[in-house]
Symmetry: C2
Subunit: 414 residues, 2 copies
């Protein structure tokens, strides 16, 4: 179009403190172990077609009305489906009036940040946490105080001390952000006992817990403890996702919270409502297929996890440490400390491989420079095998590690 010299210079008019501008999208890499994508094989295309046809026939003309005429909380049919699911699976007793449908759990978190936070505020995060949530705090000028995790999730005694120290310093954290069920990135599930103790701390320190349960449907076991909100809603704001359970390109999440919070979230939600067609189709499909859908999806994910575990062990041997997650779509893995995974990003990308570098998922004392988050939902079993073999080769070329996989010495092979 215009020559660069003819262009108007917009930058001087932009506000200060903007995030860095995006780069041009260059397409997805073929061996994609990054991001929260899902398994393309698990999209129930025929059932979504059936749902679309049925719900458009029944309610299509309502699309002429903002929010289908159901108000800013969202489509009543979807709120009813969510309420039923939350009662059955997450121990939550709520009605459609306690649920705000959002454009993914991401918008739910954004709205809560808009309500609670201003520059200079303090929040408590788990030491490893959702990269975008960490990024948002930094963008907002909010201080993160981190609480340690172990193989059972949030360490409650340590959290007690941290909150006590903050109180001594007269710092009142705006909220504790936790991912209790399939912690992101570590993949753990917080025990019932720890959940009760966490709720006691919220009461003791009179603070708010935001529980992000976006992966809570995707667990291998049947006996998951109830959500924190289900155990006692008093201090808890529950954020959930349907995108993760169905299809990430559909933007559907929800907040369950006291009206004090929801009424303020609605006032900040200036988007004209969450997309109604996606709400209608998801509600129609999930109305009687939720359990069977989740059962099929978790089976497929657990099988892909198996492929990734096998590939990592074969290719990296004892050079990689991880606990297989109890659900979800990712492994949090650690390479030997001399390796800084940030130096691996570009060489891996050159070979068509993407992963999430650990440092983006750390907000605590451990910078996670040797950690990677490896997502296993999108790549096929074959892509997992090839991609991990190639990643190990690149890693060895750069760092001399892994020297051997399970069955073979790499140094001799190459």
């Amino acid at each position: 179009m215009a020559k660069e010299s003819d262009k108007f210079a917009y930058y001087p008019l932009f506000r200060s403190g903007l995030p860095p501008p995006a780069r041009r999208f260059a397409g997805l890499l073929p061996y994609n172990f990054s991001g929260g994508h899902n398994d393309a094989e698990q999209i129930p295309i025929d059932a979504l077609i059936e749902a679309s046809v049925a719900v458009l026939k029944r309610h299509g003309s309502r699309l002429a009305i903002y929010n289908l005429g159901h108000g800013p909380l969202g489509y009543e049919g979807l709120r009813d489906v969510v309420a039923t699911k939350l009662a059955k699976r997450r121990g939550i007793a709520c009605s459609r009036d306690d649920i705000l449908i959002t454009a993914g759990s991401t918008q739910g978190l954004n709205l809560l940040n808009q309500i609670f936070l201003q520059p200079g505020d303090t929040v408590v995060f788990e030491e490893f946490s959702y990269a975008n949530a960490i990024r948002d705090m930094r963008q907002l000028g909010v201080t993160i105080v981190s609480a340690p995790l172990d193989s059972g999730g949030l360490e409650i005694d340590a959290l007690d001390s941290i909150l006590g120290n903050l109180r001594d310093r007269r710092v009142h954290p705006k909220y504790i952000y936790t991912i209790p069920t399939i912690q992101n990135p570590t993949g753990t599930i917080l025990s019932l006992d720890r959940r009760h103790k966490l709720l006691s701390l919220a009461e003791k320190f009179q603070t708010v817990v935001i529980e992000d349960e976006c992966y809570s449907n995707l667990v291998w076991a049947d006996d998951v403890p109830p959500s924190l909100y289900g155990l006692n809603p008093k201090h808890v704001i529950h954020v959930g996702s349907l995108s993760k359970s169905l299809a990430p390109a559909l933007r559907l999440g929800f907040i369950v919270a006291d009206w004090q919070v929801l009424s303020q979230a609605i006032a900040c939600k200036t988007d004209g409502g969450t997309g109604a067609l996606e709400q209608m189709v998801a509600a129609e499909y999930f109305f009687d297929s939720f359990d069977s859908h989740i059962a099929g999806q978790t089976r497929a994910l657990e099988s892909k996890l198996g492929s990734l575990v096998e590939a990592l062990q074969r290719e990296f041997g004892t050079s990689i440490e991880f606990h297989p997650p109890e659900g979800g779509t990712f492994i949090w893995a650690k390479l030997p400390p001399p390796i800084d995974v940030r130096k691996l990003i570009q060489p891996a990308a050159n070979a068509g491989i993407a992963f999430n570098p650990g440092p983006e998922w750390s907000c605590g004392d451990d910078p996670a420079t040797s950690h990677l988050r490896l997502c296993f939902a999108l790549p096929t079993a074959e892509q997992i095998q090839k991609g991990i073999a190639e990643l190990a080769r690149i890693c060895f070329d750069l760092f001399g590690i892994p020297e051997r996989g399970t069955n073979a010495s790499r140094r001799i092979d190459s």
Copy 2:
């Protein structure tokens, strides 16, 4: 659920400066002349079903990938449809890489505000303008300087003086926000001559024009001047909507702008992408039905405008002033100055009637206390007749106006 006394008090933890919390949604009123709804009869249900089936069959499995794997600008198929439509109807030469799909034009405007504005900034608005945009400026702590409108839209000479005065005071407005094609709320179309002059002012004062063209497809005449962006993109950011043209409950809009702006908009668009199913279905339907759809929709809207004009003249006679709009979905009408329409809101609501009170659409010297915005897309012809008759009766009971309609003296009738 919990007793009020058991509730946690969230308010002390909320940030300062929040908008007022929402009230519980009480349902839509039967005689609804408010908001940007559309005509329910014009939703092409069968064609949307056909489009859903076709596009889910073809691309359904891509829903597993964020943004369908097409990157943060949005679904390539929809960006291509938008580019084609803009070339044909709005004189814009652009490619899919110049278009960011947003969740309605509302999100487009929100993103631009995030990029440009901080408290204390100044923007230039038309004296009567989109109520939500005015509200957002007040919420952001941004000063609006208003430019006058006449029956041809923005008064260019007055704008020249206003920009000159600002320059003398060393105030550099961040942007000029204009709705050139079906001005909201006044319904005018800016002439080609004024468009060229407006672009010259942007060059003269080195500022940005945000043109909001969300109603630009819904015009009665065939010979609409090209968009400002089409005439010269240098200073212009073009914001458009597909929601208005198809169905407001679908959240689909777009920004066309220089990469300096788009790259920053993407960085601020932390929503995980615009809903993909709505993008796919709209693209599939519009690919070869855009012109016929718009033709049918504008015919239906123009007919409803006729019903509203007739009802207003019959019921309010010479007591109401308005220029029938050249397109869109609303009339900007004025009652005699002693009437403050804010006193009409509650009595009208009690009778099941909703309208947009003028003061919310004013940011200039005229507070528009006697103005109403009456939307004619959603109510049926019968609801228009009944609702306006009832509104006139309430108005007469409260203010003694209108004393007579076209054919009858109200005072004698009652």
